[in-house]
Amino acid sequence: MSAVIDTEAAHGSIGSDVPAGRSRRGAAPAGRRPKERFIPRAGAMLVMGVFTLYFLVPIWWLVVASTKDRADFLGTNPLWFADFAFFDNVAALFAYRDGVYLRWLLNSVLYAGFGALVATLLAAMCGYALAKYRFPGREAIFNVVLGGVLVPATALALPLFLLFSRVQLTDTFWSVFLPSVVSPFGVYLTRVFAEASVPDELLEASRLDGAGEVRTFFTVSIRLMFPALVTVFLFQFVAIWNNFFLPLIMLRSEELFPVTFGLYAWNSSINQFPELRSFVLVGALLSIIPLIVTFLLLQRYWRTGLGTGALK
């Protein structure tokens, strides 16, 4: 993935460009930071304020809509609360068809949570080995995996379906779970990270203490790689949680659906069954709350990870 261009060329041009700006705003008083003018500041706040509305109003609408019964949903201001029926809606959603929605949530947690955990572990072991051991074929393996990063996940969905139907494993939990535990990007990131943050001296010391290689990995190295592991976990978690093509093509049985796919299925039949509308909206809200909370809790690591990749 040589998507990134050297910045040397850009560096070179700076010196010649900047002095040209001298006359435009007048010289700043020497010795202290220039105070920004009022108009640029107000303009910046205005732009950010307007777009805050753009980003948050849809979610606000969803929150409000999920607190209303059907009559209020149609008859009252869509952006403000009416009679508070949120818990009735949730109870109805959980009771609908023997709680199939809860089943979907559980499925998503298994596919995405457990899947991302396994994917992170496998990727970390492989990336670590590629970083810390010398063996023939090491670069070849790494280059093939790097090529895998560029293969769009949707390009694999159809052939995976064809393969799984050969062994009669379509429409099973494994047909969605197993392809999700492979993260070439994870191998790439953990290798880069292990090279930078797991010192060889530490491994040698651990060996002198008599610890085996595998034990050293699980007790010492994995801790040093932790920020990268959180990043890999998050990316893979999001990728699996959002995956649409794989469940679409693999699954027929409702009880195996992940929650996003179940909501899609309900939403597609709203025209025949209008009572589903409230379930879709409440279900959508409940399904994104854990994601938003996870994101906010882990965002420190998330940014570190983005940094690891983007900054070098």
């Binding site: 993935m1 990134v4 805050t52 063996f135 290689e213 899609y264 690891t308 070098k312």
Partner: protein
């Protein structure tokens, strides 16, 4: 989906194969062979099974044709050479959907990245207060899965249920003319904050001394952004652009959801929808050929983009 950011130096080294030191001539014993196998084999095996084999199998399937004895006879798959690929190139629906996604990408990707860049620059400037709030608020939509985002916006665009009925009753956002741009809005809404964070991360990495001369010269924030910051975050911009191009060609969930809001979204609206529709006919061999062509088209487009931007950087 969006694979994230890479480390250019490592990627470059890997691509050239310069990451490893030149192999010594004398045979050296590999140390810890057992551990290496234990670490590499689990991922390696699954990567083989669920990445490499499917790619090979798609190519293999795309080279087969189905032959029947009579109209109702048993179907057998026989080698058909490039027959399916000839059908791919004659398939109008497929190329219409590819063309539609190109139009989509040419408009949506610059808007999305332009906004992401603007927000990242504002976050990085001294002009704003409450940066942490804005960063979070803009990033929250990325936590909303494409399916859910599309369902939400489907309601927001609908003439009867939208909170903005004054607007949606006048302008039919779900009509054949506009629905593509309504879908573009959903994608933009989800991904601006994500791209903003990538660009912002690379802005944070610029050492502050670089600005000092400019500030002493009296350059304003706009000037600093245009002449210093944007050239320095070019790599991040190119990277986000490539991921956006790949994402555009792979679009599936959002338009598939919009089918229940708008009859203008056909079953072959995007290339991936065409692949799905073809495979459920079922015509798996043609669908496999579509998959191969789409993956190749994605590669070609990303690399062409990379070439063009790299040439410009060198010029």
């Amino acid at each position: 989906m969006t694979a994230p950011v890479t480390t250019p130096a490592a990627a470059r080294d890997a691509a050239r194969g310069t990451g490893a030191p030149p192999a010594p001539h004398r045979r050296r014993r590999i140390q810890h062979p057992g551990a290496i196998v234990a670490f590499v084999a689990p991922f390696g095996l699954l990567f083989l099974l669920f990445y490499l084999v499917p790619i090979g199998y798609a190519i293999y399937q795309s080279l087969l044709v189905v032959e029947r004895e009579g109209t109702y006879g048993a179907a057998t798959e026989v080698f058909g050479g490039l027959t399916q690929y000839a059908l791919v190139f004659q398939n109008e629906a497929f190329w219409t959907s590819v063309g539609r996604m190109l139009v989509f990408g040419v408009v949506q990707v610059p808007i999305m990245l332009g906004l992401a860049l603007l927000f990242a620059l504002l976050l990085d400037s001294p002009l704003l207060r409450g940066k942490k709030f804005f960063r979070l608020a803009f990033f929250v939509p990325y936590a909303v899965p494409g399916v859910i985002a599309a369902i939400m916006w489907g309601f927001l665009f609908s003439p009867n249920l939208s909170p903005f009925q004054e607007l949606t009753k006048q302008v039919d956002f779900l009509s054949a003319d506009l629905v593509l741009w309504s879908i573009a809005n959903v994608v933009t809404w989800v991904f601006v904050g994500y791209n903003m964070l990538i660009i912002y991360s690379s802005l944070l990495a610029i050492p502050a001394e670089i600005y000092e001369a400019a500030v002493l010269d009296g350059a304003g924030q706009g000037r600093i952004a245009w002449s210093i910051k944007i050239p320095l975050v070019r790599p991040a911009l190119i990277l986000t652009a490539i991921f956006s191009i790949i994402g555009t060609l792979q679009l599936l969930a959002e338009p598939q959801v919009f089918r229940s809001f708008s009859s203008a979204v056909t079953s072959t609206y995007t290339p991936n929808m065409t692949i799905y529709a073809t495979s459920s006919i079922p015509n798996v061999n043609l669908a496999a050929a579509f998959s191969v062509v789409l993956a190749l088209a994605t590669f070609v487009l990303s690399f062409t983009f990379l070439r063009i931007t790299r040439k410009k950087a060198e010029a």
